[in-house]
């Protein structure tokens, strides 16, 4: 191990010596300039921060707009952005943000406190149809505002550069919510002028302006020369080319025509590309805040018996499934992914043990096994994974019939109380919107999600854990952050005693970029920005 490390260090030193111009060592040495091309297969949907909610527009919106807070590049650490500083009251009910002076929207007007209030109200207003509105339910007066649509009482602006947010009950995720796209600041006059088309003509305060948008073809980002954060962004221009099949994008990348294949490496090419030594520095493997799991509906016999659910956990050979998808994941033993605060490294989970699983089934009075159904989304590799699970279950006597359906039907079945006994979550798996463990509980394992049309497909409802979740969410003092993470971690490992899920793996994102672009702070492995933090990436030919 040591020898390998020494070798790679000397290799890196060699490379530095060979290309001294291409790799500035410190962020402040990076010269601005240059351009890059990113390709995507599908259209970019709206860039309206209140509405955009897919993995492509998510990072693009972060470069056009800003929020009060942000994450330190390459990490999940919260830092001030449009807010210069912030203060949380002792009881965790009042958040006061002091705004930066002189930040300008792309239209030249200065951003002020009223804009922050307007933007949050816009997201919470049902007329906006924001998929993120539900996150802000803790703000005082939220329910009234959803009906009256006039003045969200919990948000006040004592002066032009101060925003005060009062909560009805403590919510430790509040700071994350102020770094979330749905809270990003938009100028009222532009939104009112453009109406629902604001998402195609976005105006923010961010590092880039949208200078051209040809539907179905390309979007061009131009550097915002008045960006408040001097030195950023590094690139003058980013062109997003739309409509390129991932296989073709990869070919073009290898020919040097493009810089980032936004959809990543197609599964069929994965082994070939990652094992080519020429790509060693160009391929990045990123941990995602994602867990693939088998949910077991605790209201449908025999999954109402905890032994049965534990047996399923022990029957699934996770290593084999990870190999099946070319090691593009790591085996999981708890709902939280390893990159999430609160992940319990010491927790062992249910080890692979078919004999133990059989014994548990026998204990539950099911020594002859039983017949059930496993729902799965019909897009590769999910049916293959479900087949592997099916084979594993067959070994302990559970005959699971595969229900391979399109995504909509699987989600619909999961949201009905007697809809689906088991679901393999692949393709629809929960990817966290923000790096906080609560994001993995409330909707998908809490009582609130166990409703018609909800996302709690296991229909698991543990009042005791719900109460502990509320307690953890009330720990709003930043000094309690570690204690809170631990409390959350314990909630998930305790939940695993009831085994409503069989966690299978945590997927990794794989990106590939050209030699023309590079970046500091693990820019290609950023947990918040996929495929890359557009503000931080720089052009090697501009150095």
């Amino acid at each position: 191990m040591m020898k390998k490390l020494v070798m790679s260090v000397s290799l890196a030193a060699l490379m530095l010596a060979a290309a001294p111009l291409a790799t500035p060592t410190f962020a402040q040495d990076i010269k601005q300039g240059g351009a890059m091309i990113v390709t995507f297969k599908d259209d970019i949907s709206t860039l309206d921060p209140a509405i955009g909610y897919d993995w492509k527009n998510w990072s693009m919106i972060k470069s056009v707009f800003d929020g009060l807070l942000d994450y330190k590049p390459g990490t999940t650490e919260i830092i001030p952005d449009l807010a210069e500083s912030y203060d949380v009251s002792k009881d965790g009910l009042t958040y006061t943000f002091k705004l930066r002076h002189g930040v300008k929207f792309h239209n030249g007007r200065e951003m002020k406190a009223a804009d922050v209030k307007y933007s949050l109200e816009r997201t919470c207003n049902p007329d906006t149809q924001s998929p993120g509105a539900g996150y802000y339910g803790a703000i005082k007066g939220f329910d009234d505002f959803q009906k009256s649509k006039k003045d969200l009482a919990g948000i006040t602006t004592p002066d032009d550069y101060t925003v005060k947010i009062e909560l009805a009950h403590p919510d430790a995720t509040m700071l994350h919510l102020m770094a979330l796209n749905f809270s990003f600041v938009v100028p009222k006059e532009e939104v009112e002028k453009l109406g629902p088309d604001f998402g195609k003509h976005p105006v923010g305060t961010g590092a880039f302006k949208v200078s051209e948008w040809t539907s179905g073809q390309k979007i061009v980002f131009e550097r915002n020369k008045d960006y408040y954060n001097k030195g950023l962004p590094h690139l003058d221009q980013i062109t997003f080319e739309i409509g390129q099949e991932p296989v073709v994008a990869l070919l073009r990348l290898q020919k040097g025509e493009i810089d980032i294949a936004g959809d990543g490496i197609p599964p069929a090419k994965y082994v070939e590309v990652t094992q080519d030594p020429a790509n060693k520095d160009l391929v990045t493997i990123v941990d995602q805040l994602q867990t693939g799991y088998v949910s077991m509906n605790v209201t449908m016999p025999p999954f109402d018996k905890v032994e049965v659910r534990q047996a399923v956990n022990m029957a699934i050979n996770k290593d084999r499934i990870v190999k099946l998808i070319n090691n593009r994941a790591v085996p999981a033993n708890q709902p939280l992914p390893p990159a999430m605060p609160g992940y319990d490294k010491s927790y062992k989970g249910y080890a692979y043990d078919p004999d133990g699983a059989k014994a548990l089934l026998a204990k539950a009075g099911l020594s002859d096994g039983f017949t059930t159904e496993l729902y799965v989304q019909n897009v590769d590799p999910n049916p293959r994974i479900a087949q592997a699970i099916q084979q594993d279950l067959a070994k302990i006597g559970i005959k699971a019939e595969l229900k391979s359906l399109d995504q909509g039907n699987v989600i619909a079945a999961g949201g009905k109380k007697d809809g689906a006994p088991m679901i393999w979550s692949g393709g629809m798996a929960w990817i966290a919107d923000f790096p906080d463990p609560s994001n993995f509980y409330t909707a998908i394992l809490g009582c609130g999600g166990a409703v018609d049309g909800g996302w709690n497909w296991a229909w698991y409802c543990n009042k005791d854990l719900d109460a502990r979740a509320d307690q953890a969410n009330a720990m709003t003092d930043p000094a309690q952050a570690d204690a809170r993470a631990t409390a959350w971690g314990k909630i998930f490992t305790d939940l695993m005693k009831d085994a409503p899920w069989a966690p299978v793996f945590n997927e990794k994102a794989i990106t590939i970029h050209s030699k023309r672009v590079a970046g500091p702070n693990g820019v290609f492995a950023d947990p918040i920005h996929i495929p890359v933090n557009y503000d931080e990436v720089y052009a090697t030919d501009a150095q």
Partner: protein, 305 residues
């Protein structure tokens, strides 16, 4: 005149039928649009709010009436995912698709007519047999396979043509060829048999007996007459193209409505699926109508009945 009127009324009835079928798509697809728009953090009451805003809580006939009323104003609705007017999305992509279809028509005529005519003139030779097997091959090959093969050979391997994209004549060649090869294969076979038919006609024998040159006989007497059944077919091609562009545009990254359709199907973006279906159906009805109306102008033997 009565015939034209009758055909127009028929076409209109077909379009009304199409609008009902398109409307039914909204309910046939396994998806709850209100939930899709409201997002996963929405409470049940928020979802109902969105359902009301989208008008999805109205009784069926009222929803259909609303749909038709909007349609009459050229309003195809707003995409659930892109949140843009569907008419705008289709409008932005239509020119690319029309250009691609035009290119494909040129390709299929060039390929089909030359190969078909030559094969007919050299009947039962090696060329004839080879050409007909080749034509059958391209008629039977899935277009995405042909597309990727052409892309790999001419784009990646030889590097003569761009790998994908839009904007210049060079970009058009491979997708137009891929889309046109299927029709080209058909036309080669049709042109061959219709030319053989014409070659047997009395007027060709007379022309030959008069001592006309072979080139003149072929170009003036044989080809124009052999062409007639094919011209009638071009109008019908629009239907094949409408399905073909979904595949071809996706392979070549061609920004037309085929690519839009494929995306919308994958994302279950119902307003786009409805809009594209309607536009495609209109195009096919219009294509058939044109073919019927134009045929008598080209061949006086066909009478309007």
């Amino acid at each position: 005149m009565g015939y034209i009127l009758r055909r127009l009324i028929q076409s209109l009835l077909i379009l009304i039928g199409v609008s009902i079928i398109t409307f039914a798509i909204l309910f046939a697809l396994p998806n709850d649009p209100a939930r899709q728009v409201a997002g996963r953090t929405a409470s049940p009451s928020q979802v109902e709010d969105v359902r009301h805003q989208l008008g999805l809580d109205l009784p069926l006939p009222a929803q259909y009436a609303r749909y038709i009323a909007k349609l009459a104003h050229g309003d195809l609705g707003r995409s659930y995912i892109q949140r843009t007017q569907v008419s705008e999305l289709i409008g932005a992509r239509l020119p690319a698709s029309l250009l691609l279809m035009l290119g494909a028509i040129v390709c299929e005529l060039l390929i089909g007519l030359t190969i078909g005519t030559v094969a007919a003139l050299r009947r039962n030779t090696g060329f004839d047999q080879g050409a007909m097997v080749g034509a059958l091959f391209f008629v039977s090959m899935p277009q995405f396979l042909v597309g990727y093969a052409l892309l790999y050979v001419f784009g990646a391997w030889l590097g003569w043509l761009p790998l994908s994209g839009y904007g210049s004549f060079r970009h058009l060649i491979l997708p137009a060829l891929t889309l046109g090869l299927l029709g080209g294969g058909w036309y080669a076979r049709m042109m061959r048999s219709s030319t053989i038919e014409v070659l047997r006609q009395d007027y060709v024998r007379t022309a030959r007996a008069k001592g006309l040159s072979r080139a003149r006989i072929v170009l003036v007497h044989v080809v124009p007459n052999g062409l007639l059944p094919i011209i009638a077919m071009i109008g019908l091609d629009i239907g094949y193209f409408m399905s073909g562009i979904v595949v071809v545009e996706s392979v070549f990254g061609w920004p037309g409505i085929g690519q839009l359709t494929w995306q919308a199907i994958n994302q279950i973006d119902i307003p786009i699926i409805m809009g594209v279906t309607l536009v495609a159906a209109c195009a096919i009805v219009l294509g058939n109508l044109l073919a019927d109306l134009v045929a008598p102008l080209i061949d006086p033997r066909i009478k309007l009945k």
